[in-house]
Subunit: 235 residues, 2 copies
């Protein structure tokens, strides 16, 4: 019985990793639809968001089933609750990818991104793909060291977000208010996307170590302040 | 023992209601600091966000304690998980209030909001206060009918958000790109704030009825289209 229970928890973890793949592809395609003004691809991302929501619903149902069938002890409960929160974050990341695709659709056949900001958004798309792919590895490996990598990738996104602001607010900006509003919101979607990845990584670390962990302060880990081996808890 | 357990769950509910009050006040003061360019008030909102985070941490600790002490059955588990999610939403609403205050601080001694948009943001502040206050009532009363009221208030916010866009994108906009970027992000914070309130209300309805509920389609409920008995699921 205990075995079946842990198999179910493993399936939940697999579903969360699957969600990271779906979300990574969604944001990759959303970015492509944005930069290429590709209406069909944008529509596909928007329509595909329901698949991500479906996996999230499956995770929620599985979590309740394992909890109801075999009442979890505190550690397992923490895993179940973390899974529900991670799933909620991934679902929201899917929404943000769909928001990007909707912006692409709204401005079609034009592109919502002026030429001078194309490299920035191209890089944002790559960083978004990276950050959620790395988050999937954190979920599947429970490797606390990899979580710091997610935080570093988020810093890249913050840098791009600031770069977008500098470009838009420079006296040389020649694309007017509407384009400025568009790229401000778009950039915010990418920034929030990466923030959610960090929240997920932190949640995994918390479950693995029983300790909240400031991911940005990577030296804390290498200096052994989080010195309990992964998998132990503070119970 | 069972009594103590339910008393603890009641305390969690009280803490969530307390969070709605803190968040309502935070957004009210953030709006005032924004419109009056009141630096001290902005700083107070930013510093005060930690109090909201503290109550959220208390809710989380209490939820784990009640779950570990008396292993919850499925319904109680649903309450515990809902409480954790509601607390996460309220914490995020506190962050959004702090974001508004930070925008006020960034533009001090000027105001981030041009005169012609003052009435819009004043109304957004009022609607934000209303929506979270109504959400508090939904949490404390578990009254499904009141949840629809939260959704209607969110529609008011969406209307104001669209109004902001119309003003900024009109040919008469004379405040330039920076002000446009500022009010776009600010308006987005208010809009997300109200969205979170709806998410919370939906979560309470789900716990109370066992059914997901489309709050906006209020007639669906009264017309009995949600005709499966409470506690069944769609799986």
């Amino acid at each position: 019985m205990r075995e079946v229970y842990h198999e179910q928890l493993d399936r939940v973890s697999d579903d969360l990793v699957e969600m990271t793949h779906l979300v990574a592809t969604a944001m990759q395609n959303a970015t492509k639809s944005l930069l290429d003004a590709d209406l069909h691809l944008a529509e596909a991302v928007i329509a595909g968001d329901i698949l991500i929501d479906d996996v999230a619903a499956q995770v929620e149902a599985d979590c309740f089933q394992v909890s109801a069938r075999q009442q979890p002890v505190a550690t397992d409960l923490r895993i179940v609750v973390a899974a529900l929160r991670i799933s909620a974050s991934l679902e929201r990341m899917g929404d943000l990818a769909a928001h990007v695709a909707k912006a692409a659709r709204m401005r079609y056949p034009a592109s919502a991104v002026p030429d001078e900001l194309r490299p920035t958004f191209e890089e944002m798309g790559n960083v978004a793909y990276d950050v959620v792919t790395k988050t999937g590895l954190v979920i599947s490996t429970k490797d606390v060291a990899r979580a710091a990598d997610v935080a570093h990738t988020d810093e890249d996104m913050d840098r791009l977000h600031r770069q977008m602001f500098r470009t838009v607010l420079a006296p040389t900006w020649s694309h007017g208010v509407e384009a400025a509003v568009d790229v401000t919101l778009l950039s915010r979607f990418y920034e929030r996307f990466a923030d959610h990845a960090v929240t997920i990584a932190k949640r995994v670390v918390y479950v693995a170590t029983g300790e909240p962990y400031n991911l940005v302060d990577a030296t804390a880990y290498s200096a052994g302040r989080l010195d309990r081996p992964a998998g132990t808890t503070s119970r």
